[in-house]
């Protein structure tokens, strides 16, 4: 019993032998003896022999099978005959072919039905027939044992008694250890002698439905067969045909009932089979109980009372119920244990992963809408955290300047790092000062924070009341300002001017048919699900609230400086007191043959990206070439790669991003791109663009020809100075301005990409924003100094950190600090002069340049940490 507790389905090898082997041998020999005596009786005194055999011995077997089938399997004379060759070592030990293993049960079932049916015909009354049956069976069992190994020649396979043993003994109340197999040779499928409790359940749940079906057929037909057998008229009088019709009719009847019940009652195959088998058991004793008792009584010279049948059948019914309960309980365990010891598990060594940086113990930053959180990490911006949590957030400059990623701070504002000047300016422009933060530049330094990615203006705290201000427009008489261009510099100018004067009329003329959007992120329109509206940087009602008149889809075609008016493409004119030029720049297109073919693009405006997208889809383009290995070109190539275009970057210089990076940094970047499948050709440019009706190949100056259906020029920009030039303003590479952003005409200012402020960096987002503030002030007679924004350049590409800043020259003084060991994956270099960072290059996996951005933006004095930097402690940068 103790085994049973541990293992509900022990195999015979795991069962104790409760009785010694000699006992079983004695028992077997005794059984043979009884059999021989009965056979002798049948031969000599058929009257008594038949009664003993058919009325007593055989009818006792079903009960034995239900209670302890193992006893019979130990002492069965056929088993003994079958096992003699094995025991004495003269068996052929053949393996029963699989087909027969699967078919054996069915054969034995048919044999059972057939032989039993012959009882009424021969075996019940003809001694010779019965003796032939008995000794024939013994002979076949012996033959099976001579030929086949284990018990596969008879006991578990062809023996006609085997099905009935399995059916009644499907959940034996007592198990007895298999006494014949000293070692198991695995001779049959789902061996009943190996695992008596599991055999029948395994058969019924076998994946071979045909095989399992044989079991179901037998148990379903058995009750009908029992009824038919005991109610049949004597075939010797009626003839065989009606007799067999009667038998098969009943078999089919209970088979049909069984199947109907299976359709309407939801029970398992096993439960259904068990109920059917137990019903057959009870039916059997209903018909045989009287015979057994009266025969025994007669032999003892007594008479049996006529009611005796009822208590016997009731007892049998109790046994049947007990077996059913036993089986149905066991079935639960069976199903649990049937699965190979549990689903396979894959584990990871949590300690190592956690030590590597995935820790869950600190404070969290939580996005209110999605409920998602990420770790509050002072070394990581909220934008990085948001992205790492799988949330989507638009972004642009990642430096707090463009205004693409404001997030509302629902709770924990005090736990965030304080904003710097750039961020404050951006928040002010967005009207979110003190009410939100730019995710790209703040981090949760001190505790938990709850954020909203979508800002609901109604939920924000009240904006601070506008300071009582003089309306500078009224004071200076400047009442009409026209701005040409609605990029960042134009819109920043509109915003600044409105702050200084509420009365002044502001018109913005914009060639594109879109409200102010995040130009830096247009690449994302190519892949992903970003729509143009997602890139809008001002709420749609901002324009109305600020009383700004937008002229979208309208080109300014001429400036009449005499009349102080701007002519529009529509023919209308707009008079101005002051004019702001913010026309930005246009992408440079190489003057190569074929540059006007369909398939040649630039990347400057939303419309450019939409055109690339359309062209790619329309023509099923698979390859692309990008001219230019600067930031813009690499970002373009990344976008093209993401829509599965095989992309090659062609770069004139010998190393990528040569203006910002040194060779080592560029090499790491190049390797990374190549690993992602972007090819890079350096030291070459475009010689010609080939194709009949559209781009088909790009010929390079190095002689190579690259097949490509899309060509994108990202090789620099030129300021949109035509209008200004035609109006007679001084124009160099841009519209030349003074420190107040004033052009050669006092009434006209220029800002952003279109302006050229001698000695200052151009072509960056933050430049236009800063210049707009200077121009707006100057317009109303106030001088503020232009403060160039930080010019740290960072590549906006997932999976790599690339930062370049200033100049790496040390000829005129300054100290250079670099990673001591050259690595293929990380390069950090910094030039410090007089405690100031003059230049820097950081290239590596994400996070590699996290501290340099802040240090550069703060323009911090790094004297105190130089020693630590020299020792390679780059984290020191976070402490300045």
């Amino acid at each position: 019993m103790s085994e049973f507790v541990e293992k509900p389905f022990p195999s015979y090898l795991e069962m104790p032998s409760r009785l010694p082997a000699w006992f079983w041998w004695a028992f077997r020999i005794a059984t043979i003896g009884v059999m021989l005596v009965v056979a002798w009786l049948i031969a000599t005194k058929p009257e008594i022999g038949f009664a003993v055999f058919w009325k007593v011995l055989i009818p006792s077997l079903p009960l034995l099978f239900a209670l302890a089938p193992g006893i019979w399997r130990q002492i069965c004379p056929m088993a003994l005959a079958n096992q003699l060759p094995r025991t004495f070592g003269f068996s052929q030990d053949w393996t029963l072919p699989v087909r027969f293993k699967n078919l054996a049960y069915f054969v034995s079932v048919l044999a059972f039905f057939f032989l039993v049916s012959l009882r009424h015909v021969y075996f019940n009354k003809e001694p010779a027939a019965l003796l032939i049956l008995i000794f024939g069976a013994l002979g076949l069992a012996l033959l099976g044992g001579l030929l086949f190994k284990g018990r596969s020649g008879w006991c578990g396979t062809f023996c006609p008694l085997a099905p009935i043993q399995k059916a009644y003994g499907h959940a034996p109340l007592f198990t007895v250890r298999n006494g014949y197999c000293p070692t198991c040779v695995g001779c049959q499928k789902n061996c009943y002698d190996f695992n008596p409790r599991a055999a029948f359940m395994s058969d019924l749940t076998d994946n071979d439905l045909w095989y399992a079906g044989h079991k179901k057929f037998f148990v379903a037909g058995l009750p009908g067969f029992a009824i038919a057998f005991f109610t049949a008229d004597d075939p010797n009088q009626t003839g065989l045909a009606p007799y067999y019709l009667h038998l098969t009719g009943w078999i089919i009847t209970t088979l049909g009932l069984y199947m109907a019940a299976r359709i309407f009652i939801r029970v398992s195959d096993y439960a259904a089979a068990a109920v059917s088998a137990m019903a057959a058991l009870v039916i059997f004793y209903w018909f045989t109980a009287d015979g057994i008792v009266s025969t025994v009584a007669q032999m003892l010279g007594m008479t049996s009372p006529s009611w005796i049948k009822y208590p016997i059948v009731a007892t049998i019914a109790l046994v049947a119920v007990r077996v059913l309960v036993n089986g149905i309980r066991a079935e639960k365990d069976f199903l649990t244990f049937k699965a190979p010891s549990g689903e396979p598990r894959v584990r990871v060594q949590v300690d190592a992963v956690r030590a590597g940086g995935a820790d869950a113990t600190g404070d969290l930053v939580t996005d209110r809408a999605s409920g998602r959180s990420f770790a509050a990490d002072p070394g990581r911006t909220l934008l990085d955290g948001i992205e790492s949590a799988g949330l989507t957030q638009d972004f642009g400059c990642r430096m707090g300047m463009c205004g693409a990623d404001p997030i509302a701070i629902v709770e924990g504002m005090e736990n965030l790092s304080p904003p710097n000047d750039d961020e404050l300016a951006t928040l002010r422009r967005l009207g979110l000062e003190g009410r939100a933060r730019m995710a790209c530049v703040c981090n949760a330094a001190a505790g938990p924070v709850t954020i909203d990615l979508e800002i609901d203006p109604n939920e924000l705290p009240e904006p601070p009341p506008p300071a009582d201000q003089v309306d500078l427009g009224e004071e200076t008489g400047i009442q009409r300002v026209v701005i040409i261009g609605n990029g960042t510099s134009g819109m920043a100018a509109a915003d600044e001017i409105r702050r200084m004067s509420t009365s002044c009329k502001i018109d913005v003329v914009a060639r594109e048919n879109h409200l102010f959007y995040n130009r830096m992120a247009v690449g994302r329109l190519l892949y992903g699900r970003t729509g143009l509206e997602d890139l809008y940087l001002m709420a749609p009602d901002w324009y109305e609230k600020h009383d700004i008149t937008m002229w979208l889809n309208t080109q300014a075609t001429a400036i009449d400086r005499e009349a102080c008016q701007v002519t529009l493409g529509t023919g209308e004119t707009l008079p101005y007191d002051r004019l702001v030029l913010a026309m930005g720049s246009s992408a440079f297109v190489p003057p190569a043959e074929g540059a006007d073919l369909p398939g040649c693009f630039v990347l400057r405006e939303a419309a450019d990206v939409q055109a690339i997208r359309a062209h790619r889809q329309e023509h099923g383009v698979e390859r692309a070439v990008v001219l230019g290995g600067g930031v813009l070109g690499i970002e373009a190539a990344d976008a093209l790669r993401r829509v599965n275009l095989k992309t090659t970057i062609v770069h004139r210089s010998d190393s990528l991003m040569n203006r910002e990076l040194d060779e080592r940094g560029a090499a790491i970047l190049r390797h990374f791109l190549e690993e992602l499948g972007v090819d890079v050709v350096t030291g070459a440019s475009v010689a010609a663009i080939k194709g009949n009706s559209r781009v088909e190949a790009i010929e390079l100056t190095n002689g190579e020809t690259l097949p490509a259906g899309i060509f994108v020029s990202c090789a620099g920009v030129s300021a949109n100075t035509d209008l200004a030039g035609a109006a007679g303003l001084t124009v160099g590479r841009g519209v030349v301005v003074d420190a107040q952003m004033k052009t050669s005409d006092d009434k006209i200012f220029a800002v952003g990409d279109v302006a050229e402020l001698p000695g200052e960096v151009r072509g960056l987002w933050g430049v236009g924003t800063s210049q707009a503030a200077v121009a707006a002030a100057a317009m109303f007679g106030k001088e503020i100094a232009y403060k160039a924004p930080s010019t740290l350049v960072s590549l906006k590409m997932d999976g790599i950190d690339v930062k370049g800043f200033g100049s790496l020259e040390t000829e005129k003084g300054g100290e250079e600090i670099m990673d001591a060991v050259e690595s293929d994956t990380l390069h950090r270099r910094i030039v410090i002069d007089n405690g100031q960072i003059k230049g820097a290059v950081f290239v590596g996996p994400p996070g590699s340049g996290k501290h340099i951005t802040q240090a550069v933006q703060k323009q911090a004095d790094v004297t105190g940490i130089v020693d630590r930097l020299r020792k390679g402690d780059w984290d020191a940068l976070s402490e300045v």
Binding site: F9, S11, L13, T183, C184, V185, G186, K189, N190, C191, F194, N195, A198, A199, S202, N207, F337, K338, A339, P340, S341, G342, E343, P344, R345, V346, R347, V348, Q349, V350, A352, V353, R354, A355, G356, G357, A358, A360, L364, T366, G371, R372, S373, F374, A375, S388, A389, G390, H671, F672, E675, L676, D798, G799, I800, T825, P845, P846, G847, S848
Partner: protein, 154 residues
Amino acid sequence: MAFFDYPGSGVPNPVETEITFLADLSEAEWARILKVVETRQFRAGENLIQSGDQDDAFYLLTSGEVDVLIGSEEDERIITTIAEGSVFGEIAFFDQEARTATIRARSRGSAVRITRENFETLAAWEPGIARRMLVELGRILAMRLRWTLSIAFN
């Protein structure tokens, strides 16, 4: 458990049931992986994976416990609970088909999330580690397949 694994029948139980994912990686190597993948923190009740979603990440559960649920929203059933240290979701990582179950946190915890894109990035930076990771993922799939076959044809 097999009920009929006959001794001496020469058919070994083919199913390995526990694999340690990237057992030989050092902490430093894990740190390099973590640079390019996502680490997600979650609270009790939060869904890490939503049935029907198209999300091609596999997960390493670094702390906490999660339930696996199947069925429609009205008729959800927990089919199993996954403990800290488990690896899951690798099938969609390969075939990028929709998720068939929802994974919901039982407790506060954290998970490392590795998308296909993350993997590409990892392969670019750490080809050696990425190759090992891929073989390991193959080994996991093979083990699960063997297991499935063993129940289908036991």
